[in-house]
């Protein structure tokens, strides 16, 4: 007999997972909760085994919720004792959640920046002060990568920085550990830098989206104040770790990045729009205009001026928006059907201290996202954290924002394997390093990150949030 392809088996397992709850009667779980559990199973299995792309699973989630859990669906036309069904617009509405619009603005900006080589030229400019000593070149590369990936996709930033470091690597002795340090510094800095702003990377969006469905809005600046210091300290620590593990032999790196800023009127407009938008985002506390509202400015200006044309609009990474929207949507049902609370209350939380829960959530998020997509890991964990906080079982002082941050940040701290993040995959593909190098350094950063997240959650975040 011919073995079934992995894809078919994964789909089969997912469908089985979907069907099982329909035949069970779980005490303490509402009828709608059973349906939500079905959807949770198929989503989790599809997201983990990936028989279909992860964004396709998100779309499936929204479809299933509209059909089976909404007021307009087939199962719950009327409110029951335990479940007042959400209108279907709640589920499809996640696509226009403020965080999605904020991301759209970020995509459009990043797209224009790449089109006019703003990212490359900024890199050239910002790297200059770091001189030509390997130690400081690596620091410079990490700072610039971190900074750019806070506003652009981590993956695009890594790809761009590869064009900067590959010529250096080519000129370095084949047995100089500097090559490995260089190749690892970029993806690591990109992964870490993504944490710094709400638009840095999709897991942040999942966290902010989940909080917004709970009526908690996190301002752009607030996020930066919460996450920024952690990003800086983790970046610096990663720098030390890389220098320590891969001590450079050569003491001079020839840096000759060529290029000039484009000076045509479109390019200048892009620089201005980029600068103004970022400035308005980071000054939200002063003017009070929400970041999602400001995000509409670049979208409008760049399309009005034709810099974002029809093809440009078509080529935006819409699948990321679907992915995040599906995640937010799943969270809504896990909440409203009581599923998340049921999962939470099946564990005796009062036996655990707050510090234990912080470490547990952070560790689980880091481990999960080493193997799964960071966004998926955050998506699967956030509803549990939300219930833990809102149901009150975790006791007083267990802050919803705090535990959400722990999950969101931790999901980006996974970088042990080539499959952990797309930036890791890019670095690996250059052939300059082996998986064991990435695993060693990624492990050290993961452990340090876990420690930092715990300390921040215990001391720094409560200070800011209260």
């Amino acid at each position: 007999m011919k073995a079934l392809p992995k894809q078919t088996i994964s789909i089969f397992i997912g469908v089985i997972g979907f069907v099982i709850p329909f035949f069970l009667n779980i005490p303490g779980l509402s009828e709608a909760g059973h349906v939500a559990l079905s959807i949770f199973f198929i989503a989790a299995i599809f997201w983990m085994l990936e028989p279909v792309p992860i964004y396709a699973t998100s779309i499936l989630v929204i479809l299933l919720q509209v059909f089976f859990l909404s007021k307009q669906g087939v199962l719950f036309p009327e409110a029951t004792a335990n479940y007042s069904p959400n209108p279907y617009t709640d589920f499809i509405g996640t696509l226009s959640n403020p965080i999605i619009i904020l991301f759209l603005g970020g995509f459009v900006l990043a797209d224009a920046a790449v089109k006019y080589d703003l990212d490359k030229n900024l890199t050239r400019l910002l790297l200059k002060p770091f001189g030509d000593k390997p130690k400081f070149i690596i620091l410079g590369l990490m700072v610039v990568t971190g900074l750019l990936s806070a506003f652009m996709s981590n993956t695009a930033t890594t790809a761009m920085m590869m064009t900067v470091i590959l010529p250096i690597i080519a000129k370095t002795d084949i047995d100089d550990p500097l090559r490995i340090g260089l190749a690892l510094s970029i993806p690591f800095a990109a992964n870490i830098g993504g944490i710094a702003t709400p638009i840095g990377t999709p897991p942040n969006a999942v966290v902010i989206g989940a909080l917004s469905t709970q009526g908690i809005d996190i301002a752009f600046t607030e996020w930066m104040v919460l996450a920024g210091p952690l990003v800086i300290i983790t970046l610096v620590a990663s720098w030390f770790i890389l220098l320590w593990m891969f001590k450079p032999k050569s003491d001079f790196i020839p840096m000759d990045m060529k290029g000039t800023f484009q000076k045509n009127s479109s390019a200048i407009l892009v620089y201005v729009v980029f600068g103004v938008t970022v400035l308005l985002w980071v000054t939200e506390t002063f003017h009070g205009v929400g970041s999602s509202i400001i995000a509409l400015i670049p979208v409008a200006v760049l399309s009005l001026t034709g810099i974002l044309d029809k093809d440009g609009i078509r080529q935006l990474p819409w699948e990321v928006l679907w992915l995040v929207a599906g995640g937010i949507s799943l969270g809504i049902s896990m909440e409203s059907t009581g599923l998340a609370e049921w999962i939470i209350t099946s564990i005796e939380w009062s036996a655990f201290s707050t510090i234990f829960m912080i470490i547990a959530f952070s560790l689980v998020a880091i481990v999960m996202s080493n193997f799964l997509s960071n966004t998926v890991s955050a998506t699967l964990l956030i509803p549990l954290a939300v219930s833990l906080a809102t149901s009150g079982v975790a006791g007083e002082g267990f802050s919803l924002i705090l535990i959400s941050l722990v999950i969101g940040v931790s999901a980006s701290l996974a970088m042990m394997l080539p499959i952990s993040t797309p930036p890791n995959a890019i670095a690996m593909s250059t052939g300059t390093l082996k998986t064991k190098h990435m695993t060693r350094a990624g492990f050290a950063i993961g452990v340090f990150g876990l420690l930092m997240v715990t300390l921040y959650a215990l001391f720094y975040w409560p200070l800011i949030l209260n």
Binding site: D119, T155, A156, P317, A425, S429
Partner: protein, 165 residues
């Protein structure tokens, strides 16, 4: 990867063939090298590659061959949809003016390497042509970063709006 990408070498002189294959060694792990001694055999090899849903990424072809000549083979490949995008390089010392013009106009010749070639020249041509080929035909460029022009591949990845998940 959607199927393998082959390098096809067509050359009738055994020693020259051996030298070419030896110079292509470093590509072998990423792009399997197939050989043929004449145009007919080349057609069969191409047939075989296409039947298995693989692609001919690059053909390095001598001009003077027993039977049909190299330029005619390239023109045939150009007229076939499956191989019209394959990168076509003549490796020869004896293609006359007219044949060369024919190869450029009718077979969309990508490069002409005059014998004797240097290994460095050959590698540069192979890297450049295959980089063009994978950029045009492959969705996932990462597997080729360490063998082809990583700089150009990274830039395409950057512009293709690869995203985080």
């Amino acid at each position: 990867m959607d199927g393998k990408i082959y390098i096809l070498v067509v050359e009738d002189e055994l020693e020259v063939m051996e030298a070419l294959v030896k110079d292509l060694e470093k590509f072998e792990a990423f792009f399997p090298v197939e050989t043929a001694n004449n145009a007919n055999e080349a057609q069969q090899v191409i047939e075989h590659i296409i039947d298995h849903r693989n692609k001919v990424g690059l053909v390095l072809c001598d001009h003077v061959l027993p039977g049909k000549n190299g330029v005619d083979l390239l023109i045939d490949m150009q007229s076939r949809p499956e191989t019209s995008d394959s990168k076509k390089v003549l490796v020869t010392g004896q293609a006359g003016h007219e044949d060369t013009i024919l190869a450029i106009n009718k077979a969309d010749l990508d490069h002409y390497i005059a014998k004797p070639w240097s290994q460095q020249e050959l590698e540069e041509v192979v890297v450049r042509e295959l980089t063009d080929f994978v950029i045009a035909h492959e969705k996932n460029l990462l597997p080729y970063m360490q063998i082809l022009n990583a700089d150009r591949l990274s830039d395409v990845i950057r512009k293709n709006k690869m995203t985080d998940h």
